[in-house]
Subunit: 366 residues, 2 copies
């Protein structure tokens, strides 16, 4: 199986987005005024000027992971997923997330569902350290057949300190941060495979889901169910990345200029790394351990290695590219704050591609 | 007919939103730090601290107006609708909108539709004077059956200059700004009435739609169609309201402290005014002229006066409450910049209610 056959046409999505962007015009906001756009490669978070600072916006939704949550009536994690998809993008430009707004579309409002969403968003705000500054619930029975949840995060950083990728260089060390599970991408394929195997989300997972790199959020006692594993909330990397950036600007034994790039591994998997620089390459020679659900999904669905790494995070949700001479200190600092952080590879200068320890896992375009 | 019988259960929506809000906890962001929440009555835009300034976020979607646009394959206005719903809310707290992000959910991406959305958003950004700082397109065939479009706007204002309603006083003059049409609320009822009459959106409107207070955006030559009237884009009030606020802080013959309240007339119609102050009342003794589509809808649907003013803007999309001694200057300034601006009433102190020149049109709760 692969992602495309599960019903997701990435090329069509790409050409639709290109059509939209092609129809835009340059901003009326002139350089030096609040809101003027700041160009940045990668495009994780949209940056604008604001006096001596930059502000960053990111907008994203939970996607088809919601369909599993809704089918199981388990929304305790979806607010965290929604928050994570947005604030993790902000971190990539070096921004500190400070506020969030949610957008909920439902065929018909249900106070019980909304209470669950509120609790999930409250926990998400706590984890991401942001203020929930508003939200909208739309009743759209003619447009949505079940819950859709998206959101927008706002972050800031001092002008001149954006992480742009421009300082990336051959030999930079790649530090991988472990994921908590499937996060919020690739669920069309997840659902297809689970359906194919005839597995039941409410039954015990057909594999040992424990892994030292993450904790599973449990809904009830007993054996861990498949649903609990696939709906485990996306990891929010504000802690430790925000603290790392602040420490780097302060009295840490490393400097902010040593952080050359941060990549959120989302849809597109490892190929996301290509967004950080137009010509350098990425050699993942020592990948983080693969979480057990990925191994099971791959086997159950007969999915090729390359397709797995293009669709899923495979155990690594974020990558930092750090100047070689400061990498050891940054690594030690991160390892004190998150289990499973490790050096996974380095930046190369032999072509714009991602290479992985597994043969055949190589990407030359995002 | 009324709004509830058209399928919109406002009470259920209210209790769902209350459930969500009830599950939230107070922000982890402490007063004095970036992102700390700023409490404000009315709740049009969510305000947070940011150094010497405040930032404001607003999030909203186009709603069921999209269903008419999609059925006619006419998306040229929906980006403007989406922008307007958000930036007009920001204006109510005295914020200048500076950036916007869009969220598009579709069952399947279509580059032609996205090109139309991009063109519409580009025009919206021009009218609202904001930077499009990003966006997301989600393919969600299991969740949406047709296009959903929402967005988030970011604005700013100097600390201490938020328009909070706290200075509202008996005798304040209400200045009405004309709407461009139905804007983006009440479309469940619009669709129900049009269906009931057997009218065709592609045929000439069964009434004279011309009115000096607005221009209709035409799609093609010939007689104005019903579709063109009901899909006329929502008016974006950045011009003149942003300029008014800036002039008031500068060399205009009126001061920023004279602007006591700004109200965006959205779902809930005139009852929105009640959100601005907990005890004062609102007497609309000289309403702006009703646009012809409202008169037709009311007659065709047999809708009562009160229901019309609770569901639609009826020709007035925004209201400013201005200190009586400066109202004349503010009025003159606005009239030079927008056709149809007029004094529509004043603030009263005889109970928390909205009274309207039409008998029976009175609201005591939002």
């Amino acid at each position: 199986m692969d992602y495309a056959s599960a019903g997701v046409d990435i090329d069509l999505e790409g050409s639709a987005v290109a059509s939209l962007i092609g129809a835009l015009s340059s901003s009326v906001r002139r350089p030096g005024t609040p809101g003027a756009p700041v160009d940045l490669p990668g495009g994780f978070g949209g940056l604008i000027e604001f006096g001596d600072n930059l502000l960053a916006l990111a907008t994203d939704g939970v996607g088809s992971k919601l369909q599993i949550a809704t089918s199981l009536k388990q929304w305790s994690g979806v607010g965290i997923d929604c928050m994570a998809m947005n604030v993790n993008d902000l971190l990539c430009v070096g921004a500190e997330p400070i506020a969030f707004v949610d957008y909920v579309a439902v065929p018909k409002p249900d106070p019980a569902v909304h209470a669950a969403l509120g609790a999930s968003l409250a926990e998400a705000c706590r984890q991401a350290r942001v203020t929930l500054a508003g939200g909208e619930t739309a009743s759209l029975p003619g447009i949505v057949t079940e819950l859709d949840l998206s959101g927008t995060a706002l972050g800031w950083l001092p002008k001149g300190e954006a992480i742009t990728g421009e300082h990336l260089a051959e030999g930079d060390v790649l530090i991988g941060l472990p994921s908590s599970g499937i996060h919020s991408n690739g669920y069309s394929l997840v659902r297809r495979i689970v359906e194919h195997t005839g597995s039941d989300y409410t039954q015990p997972a057909p594999f040992d889901a424990t892994h030292p790199n993450r904790e599973l959020v449990r809904w009830k006692d007993g054996k861990t169910t498949l649903g609990e594993v696939v709906l485990n909330p996306t990891r929010i990397y504000c802690d430790p990345v925000v603290d790392l950036l602040q420490a780097a600007r302060g009295d840490a034994p490393f400097t902010i200029t040593s952080i050359h790039g941060i990549c959120h591994i989302t849809g597109g998997g490892l190929s996301n790394l290509l967004r950080l620089h137009p010509s350098l390459g990425w050699d993942i020679h020592s990948p983080l351990p693969v979480l057990p659900e990925f191994t099971w999904l791959q086997h159950a669905g007969g999915v090729e290695d390359r397709e797995m790494y293009r669709t899923f995070n495979m155990g690594m949700g974020m990558v930092l590219a750090v100047a070689a001479n400061e990498a050891k200190d940054v690594l030690a600092w991160l390892q004190e704050r998150m289990t499973g952080v490790a050096i996974v590879g380095h930046v190369t200068d032999d072509g714009h591609r991602v290479k992985h320890a597994l043969e055949g896992v190589e990407f030359t375009h995002y």
